[in-house]
């Protein structure tokens, strides 16, 4: 893999040149870089968003090898045959893609940002890090805006219905990967898309991804992002949907891998009548720190949002959930719900849950709930009374705990992989406890 070393101005210029970018994009990178240099890393003691996340564990300098296009090909990533289109990225380069010809004929695009620039330059310029996620939000959005790799571009034109799901696979071979996904679903269009992030077990790396989903008027979007980094990958990422009037969006995240992962997951309800479901599962095991901050940002009236995040925590795992429902003064008739459920399974497991409500309008219905519990022995008994051995009963309960979210993932093969990943974690945990949880 060829790469540029260091988060420097020279790297910005070289990366932009290697990707043959237009001037406006280089200018955007440089502007972000200047601000990046002037912005300190978040203070993990005083900044509430970062208070429970120890960034000192990340050696940013050592990981600052930024991949450039090098003609790599897809490795072990298996193309799902139940998807109507796939795009595969290895170390920040699109190495292969296919799309159902009928969809392509209707103007659907599934490719890399850079390959789409000649044909969809204006669209990208309008939406890329302008109003969904903005570079200036923080140190890591600036880092991303300065050093983003060749990311995903997916566009569904006005009124086009994509039956079946598209799949994007992102693989990291080492160093820093700043994968960007720009997903635009135009007015009245419909899309299901799954993104998978993976790396081999021995890979050391840093991932700073941003996914922007722009849902137009009455658009319908189902998005699932599944993160299964190897155990030596650090991640700070953002996934956000900007929902237009009447849009219906479901954003589902599976946060399973990585040594330390901090994800900001958000819904901006910017169009009246929009509705967003945020769903998430996480399962930190030995030595993993999985930290998720969610925002349901109700900016206008008559919107609905519903969040459900499920987390199980294994031995020495650490899970942090901080979720905010924010209702702006104009956002009357807001209906917002938030639920964080945690299942504590391992010894020395730690789960922090902070469901936050910030309500500045009065005519609202908002509620949230959080729970931290262990496997209910009454249910274990019930299942055992039907003949299941204790370990099997426990496994069935943990799998069942995640099922309500997993079943929302739109691609059968990805659902199966998620179920498998959960089952594997349960088995690993049980194995270290003599077969029982």
């Amino acid at each position: 893999m060829s790469s540029l070393h260091g988060f420097t101005r020279d790297s910005v210029v070289a990366l932009s040149a290697a990707l043959a970018e237009p001037d406006w994009l280089l200018a955007k990178r440089l502007e972000a870089f200047t601000a990046f240099e002037q912005t300190p890393y978040p203070d993990t003691r005083s900044d509430e968003d970062w208070r429970r996340c120890d960034l000192r564990r990340i050696d940013f300098d050592a990981l600052a090898d930024i991949a450039t296009p090098n003609g790599a090909t897809a490795s072990a990533v298996t193309a799902a045959d139940d998807a109507v289109g796939t795009a595969t990225f290895v170390d920040g380069t699109l190495v292969g893609s296919r799309l159902n010809a009928e969809l392509a004929a209707q103007g659907v695009v599934l490719t890399s940002l850079h390959q789409a620039l000649p044909s969809h330059g204006e669209l990208i310029r309008t939406h890329f890090m302008t109003h969904c996620v903005q570079p200036g939000e923080g140190k890591f959005t600036l880092l991303h805006a300065a050093f983003f790799n060749q990311g995903l571009f997916c566009y569904v034109p006005r009124g086009v219905q994509v039956d079946g799901a598209l799949l994007a696979q992102v693989e990291l071979g080492g160093g820093s990967l700043l994968h960007h996904s720009l997903i635009i679903v135009d007015d009245g269009a419909r899309l299901s898309l799954v993104e998978e992030y993976r790396s081999a077990a021995d890979v050391t790396g840093l991932s700073v991804p941003i996914t922007e989903i722009i849902a137009g008027r009455d658009a319908q979007v189902v998005y699932a992002g599944v993160q299964e980094w190897g155990p030596k990958v650090y991640e700070v990422g953002v996934k956000r949907v900007l929902a237009g009037p009447g849009a219906q969006v479901s954003l589902c995240t599976g946060n399973l891998g990585g040594k330390l992962s901090k994800e900001f997951i958000g819904a901006a309800l910017a169009g009246s009548g929009s509705s967003v479901d945020l769903l998430g599962i996480s399962f930190p095991a030995a030595g993993q720190h999985l930290d998720q901050t969610t925002v349901q940002d109700h900016r206008v009236a008559n919107c609905h949002s519903n969040l459900r995040f499920l987390g199980a925590v294994g031995d020495k795992g650490r899970s942090v959930f901080r979720g905010v429902i924010s209702v702006h003064p104009e956002a009357q008739q807001t209906d917002a719900y938030q639920k964080n459920e945690n299942l504590l399974l391992g010894d020395k497991a730690r789960a922090d849950s902070m469901p936050v409500l910030e309500i500045l309008a009065d005519d609202v219905k908002c509620s949230h709930g959080a729970s931290l519990s262990h496997l209910d022995n009454e249910i274990v008994f019930y299942l055992m009374s039907r003949g299941l051995p204790r370990g099997e009963a426990q496994r069935m309960m943990v799998a069942g705990f995640f099922e309500p979210v997993i079943e929302q993932v739109p691609v059968e093969s990805v659902r199966a992989r998620l179920q498998h990943a959960v089952a594997q974690r349960i088995d690993n945990l049980a194995a270290s406890h003599g077969g029982l949880l």
Partner: protein, 479 residues
């Protein structure tokens, strides 16, 4: 509060006749000449002066000076409410209105007596429902009385100054142990300049079955009140302590920063009820914490109606198995008010349980915040904790925030948190109005129903007072 009389609320004349308005009933100010007050601003000399006036032993002065050093070295908290309006150099840290604490009501100076008469003290004592009464005026306790039957059983209900002089061992054993001076900036400040408050000791097995009462009042403009309360409930005992607080309305802000430490020993139960009705130019920054030993129960009943800004999170640290902590709280935030209140439950032993029920009401641009922590340490199996927060918004300028923190390091636990925010339901309102209630009365009824689960936990005449205060807050809430 102290809103101008509103011509549109004639229907409340009867109500007003019952209780008057805040400005009349609580907002008055006595033009008395104080016996003594320290210079404004806080220096080591002032701390030494306070200690000298109280004729304190050296160990207490040393604690004060430690507190002062920490206070000066600690920055203002950068979370919670807006504290920029506090100017520590403008505050008078010690004001003495009466030469000594009296035990007979007749001996209290007339002007102070008049004040407390208007507040209903010692009416409360006369009603015979209360076991003892302490009243504090600015910095010093002016009146203390305990029914003889409790005295005979060895119950102590004193000012902390008396306790320092007469029971130094008990004070030294517990003072600053539950809330060390370094806990936070305001606990440090209190440690440096504390004056007045209550000291209660209940011997093993003694049940004080009628409440002990304290009333606090700030009378001097720009004064700080820094009372210090220490309650020790020995094994198997029970005590219910009730405090009420008021202050007149001055153009300049006042600061109230109390520290309350409670020890609940094996099998004992303490209930601590507060009706906080400071005028809305008081910063109310209070640290309250109890430690509960095996099978002990600590209950905080906390109503925050007044003040400009309240930051108060009564805590229970459950140190041994079977301990139980409970917080029932009501907050009412009207115009210009921010109630930032909540609770901390620290589960430091297995099989401990806790419950928090919080109800908040915001109107007229008032802001209410629930901020809570539920912490479970490793190895504390069998912990059960439950939090329910409900917020009611009465108009479109109000604001409500909920910040619950749950930190759990043990798997054999059950922790639940639920919260909801809603406005007064139109269906409910319509139903009540269709039965002939006007809108004010209907909203009042809904609000009363909303807080009923907590009000019913208060002693009877406090519950009545509480409902009156809520009605006062609610006045003219429509239109």
């Amino acid at each position: 509060m102290a809103r101008p009389v509103n011509a549109e609320t004639d229907q409340h004349d009867e109500l007003r006749a019952l209780r008057g308005d805040y400005a009349e009933k609580y907002g008055f100010h006595d033009d008395r000449v104080n016996v003594f007050e320290t210079k404004r601003g806080l220096t080591e000399d002032i701390v030494r002066e306070i200690s000298a006036i109280k004729d304190e032993p050296a160990w207490m002065l040393e604690k004060r000076l430690e507190g002062l050093r920490h206070f000066l070295a600690t920055p203002m908290p950068n979370w919670g409410g807006d504290l920029t309006g506090i100017n520590f150099d403008e505050i008078t840290y010690y004001v003495k209105a009466s030469a000594q604490a009296e035990t007979a009501w007749e001996d209290v100076p007339d002007d102070i007596k008049r004040t407390f008469d208007r507040l209903g003290v010692p009416e409360a004592e006369r009603s015979a429902l209360l076991g003892g009464v302490g009243a504090q005026y600015d910095s010093e306790v002016v009146y203390h009385s305990l029914k003889a039957q409790w005295e005979e059983q060895g119950v102590l209900f004193l000012s902390p100054e008396e306790a320092v002089q007469n029971h130094p061992d008990l004070v030294q054993e517990h003072f600053g142990k539950i809330i060390p001076y370094a806990d936070n900036k305001f606990a440090a400040l209190n440690t440096a300049v504390w004056s007045g408050g209550s000291f209660i000791y209940v011997p093993p097995g003694v049940h004080v079955d009628i409440p002990l009462q304290a009333y606090f009042r700030i009378n001097t403009a720009n004064a700080g009140q820094f009372e210090r309360t220490l309650i020790i409930a020995d094994e198997g005992s029970f005590v219910h302590y009730v405090e009420g607080c008021t202050a007149p309305i001055y153009s300049k802000d006042s600061l109230h920063s109390a520290v309350v430490e409670i020890v609940v020993k094996r099998g004992a139960r303490v209930r601590y009820s507060t009706i906080q009705n400071w005028s809305n130019n008081v910063y109310n920054l209070v640290t309250k914490r109890a430690v509960a030993y095996a099978d002990a129960t600590m209950e905080w009943v906390d109503a925050n109606l007044g003040s400009k800004l309240t930051m108060k999170y009564p805590a229970v640290v459950m140190l041994e198995p079977g301990a139980h902590g409970e917080v029932l709280s009501i907050a009412f935030a009207g115009a210009g008010q921010h109630q930032d209140a909540g609770s901390k439950m620290v589960h430091a032993a297995p099989n401990t349980t806790s419950r928090i029920i919080s109800k908040s009401i915001s109107k007229d641009g008032g802001r209410s915040t629930y901020r809570g922590l539920c912490k479970v340490y490793p190895g504390c199996t069998g912990v059960k904790a439950n939090v329910v927060c409900d917020a009611l918004l009465l108009d479109d300028k109000a604001r409500s925030d909920t910040y619950p923190y749950m930190e759990v390091e043990e798997k054999q636990v059950d922790i639940g948190h639920e919260a909801s925010v809603s406005r007064v339901g139109e269906e409910q309102l319509f139903y009540l109005m269709s039965r002939g209630l006007d809108e004010d009365a209907a909203i009042g009824m809904i609000v009363n129903g909303f807080i009923e689960p907590i009000v019913k936990e208060l002693p009877m005449e406090y519950a009545v007072e509480m409902n009156r205060l809520i009605e006062l807050q609610m006045e003219g809430s429509v239109g």
